[in-house]
């Protein structure tokens, strides 16, 4: 009751500190959403693959671009003890040249598991030479029904649907069936070899035959009670297996990026904690005489600390609401290409961290409360 009265009695003072803490909360949330956005943008197509594990060719983990799983490999992986099912996932580079300016994309071939994609527009059924594109392709002017020309392979794909959160290395991913991917991939490889003037029709046919039924990696589901470590033991050093999220976060430059963004988040939370701690410490120091008087008329240390905790809780709660509104506003105002992907779970952790560190900061004030001698209220200066 009296904790609230003090807040209401100094609205400007406490309002300003709530705003300051709110800005810190907002900064924490925005950096969290941007880090999620960066992670999704860099590796969303890989991290969200529906599988218990991704299997890479030996010595290529976690580089999807270098891995090749042949048809025989895929059969071997599928029949490995502990593996319930497996499907191939293909990857290749391409550029789309059908619009005014060409833009890079990544092409993912998805065995028979295109149904795992969340469709936000159009259809999820993939036919030959059809693609479901990440919705960020719209920013390049792509619409449902557009037929795009891929360079340098000079192939065409018709966009039949849009999915979301499926970018890779910050460019839109186009999901196609595995046979379509194989055609594009082989054409891409042959195109480069032909450019070097070193392949003839017979050699090309042999290469196409070798690529038949292959993929870049295999996505596997495990039988009940089986772990990835069990399967890795079965694979020996022939393949490397990891969860989709591990594989995504282990990609080139990703650990460094995650570390940098986490550092910003931790710094924000520490600043918020210091802000709360120092503010309440100074406030406590300013009212030492009042605390001494209230202690003199019978207030216990626990009563005074509880009042302080109530004030901190109210203030941080108000700051959290303020910070959330500011963060959502900042997200809404960002251009579509900005990586901003709010995650309620991570936001909740950020808020809990601010609360936790604020309570930690209150220990400065507790020390001050404990040290305040109630006898000073009587002006004991006669000695």
């Amino acid at each position: 009751m009296f904790a609230l009265r003090e807040l209401l009695g100094s609205k400007l003072k406490f309002g300003l500190i709530a705003l300051a803490i709110g800005l810190v909360v907002s900064l924490t949330m925005v950096t969290s959403a941007m880090s999620e956005g960066l992670l999704t943008g860099m590796s969303g197509a890989k991290s969200s693959l529906a599988a218990d594990g991704l299997v890479f060719q030996r010595d290529t983990y976690p580089t999807l671009e270098r891995s090749i799983i042949t048809a025989d490999d895929l059969a071997t992986i599928a029949s490995t003890p502990g593996v319930r099912s497996a499907y191939g996932v293909g990857h290749t580079f391409a550029s789309v040249g059908s619009t005014d300016e060409a833009f890079d994309i990544r092409v993912f071939g998805l065995g028979d598991r295109a149904d795992q994609l969340p469709i936000v527009e159009g259809t999820g059924d993939l036919g030959p030479d059809e693609a479901i594109a990440d919705v960020t392709a719209k920013l390049e002017g792509i619409e449902i029904g557009d037929t795009v020309t891929l360079t340098p392979v000079d192939a065409e794909l018709t966009v039949v649907g849009f999915t979301e959160h499926r970018r890779y290395v910050m460019v839109p991913t186009f999901f196609v069936s595995l046979p379509t991917w194989e055609k594009l991939h082989v054409a891409s490889v042959l195109g480069r070899v032909k450019d070097e003037g070193g392949v003839d029709a017979a050699a090309a046919a042999q290469m196409e035959a070798e690529f038949s039924g292959s993929a870049s990696i295999a996505a596997i589901d495990l039988e009940d009670g089986v772990t990835l470590a069990d399967v890795q033991a079965e694979f020996g050093d022939r393949y490397t297996v990891a969860t989709p999220v591990e594989a995504a976060r282990g990609g080139n430059g990703m650990p460094e990026m995650i570390l940098a963004v986490s550092g910003i988040q931790v710094a924000s939370i520490v600043i918020g904690a210091l802000l709360v701690g120092v503010f309440f410490y100074i406030t406590t120091l300013h009212k030492t005489t009042q605390i001494a008087a209230v202690k003199a008329i019978g207030a216990s240390n626990s009563y005074l600390y509880l009042e302080l905790i109530i004030q901190i809780t109210l203030l941080v709660a108000i700051a959290t609401v303020l910070g959330t509104v500011l963060a959502l506003g900042a997200g809404a105002g960002m251009p579509p290409m900005m990586a901003f992907d709010p995650d309620p779970g991570r936001w909740a952790i950020a808020v809990l961290a601010v609360f936790g560190t604020a309570y930690l900061g209150s220990l400065f004030s507790l020390r001050s409360i404990l040290k305040t001698d109630p006898a000073t209220a009587l002006g004991r200066t006669e000695l």
């Binding site: 009695g9 001698d373 006898a375």
Partner: protein
């Protein structure tokens, strides 16, 4: 009956030892107002601090109703003040963000619960002190005399065994000071409480029932 038995308080040791109170004893009946007089440094505030449980005496004891008061911890002392003591400070020390009424209700709030009876008692005290119209005002808009009256009313909220009043008229002019002392005396008599008032002003002491003079920590007869 309230009794102070052979209270001595010393600070430091050896050659730096200072004796603030030296074997001070007196008794006070219920319904009596005792004025403690003495120059600065005579030990008046130390005496009040010991009676309030804010300081531990080096030797001697306080006896209330025949029972010696032994306070073994800060928490026990705080509980003693909440239940048995009413304190009025020289500078009123009202909580600035609370209304006059809430300043009174702070006392039961410290004990964990504010009942309807507490609210009625606060309203009654404010009315007795001529402050009914000022109940919803904060200390910042009250006059010096009104603030001191609120402080006295607050000290009466817990129906204390002993009231300790430290220089209640120091920040008031003579006329308002006398009004406050008269009001205090009237309340003490009506409620049958024991009250010790520290003052350096002999004119205020004249209105007390009894006087105790201190000099260098000793009672002067």
């Amino acid at each position: 009956m309230f009794e102070v038995r052979n209270i001595t308080k010393t600070y430091g040791s050896g050659r730096t030892q200072v004796t603030a109170l030296d074997d001070v004893s007196f008794t006070l009946d219920r319904g009596r107002l005792l004025a403690v007089l003495g120059p600065s440094g005579s030990g008046k505030t130390t005496l009040v601090s010991i009676i309030a449980g804010l300081l531990q005496p080096t030797s001697g004891e306080i006896v209330i109703g025949g029972q010696p008061v032994h306070l073994r911890s800060a928490a026990e002392a705080a509980r003693f003040r909440r239940k048995e003591v009413g304190l009025v400070f020289q500078d009123h020390h009202l909580v600035p963000y609370l209304t006059a009424r809430d300043n009174l209700l702070l006392v039961p709030h410290l004990s964990g619960r504010v009942s309807r009876a507490d609210r009625d008692r606060a309203d009654g005290l404010l009315a007795d002190f001529g402050l009914a119209e000022r109940a919803t005002h904060k200390p910042g808009v009250l006059s010096g005399g009104e603030r001191q009256r609120v402080a006295i009313a607050r000290a009466l909220m817990n129906v204390p065994e002993i009231m300790l009043v430290d220089e209640p008229t120091a920040s008031l002019d003579t006329e308002r000071g006398l009004q406050v002392v008269e009001l205090l005396k009237q309340q003490i008599h009506e409620r049958g409480m024991t009250c010790i008032m520290v003052t350096h002003d002999p004119r205020m002491a004249e209105h007390a029932d009894e006087e105790l003079r201190l000099l260098d920590g000793r009672v002067v007869v």
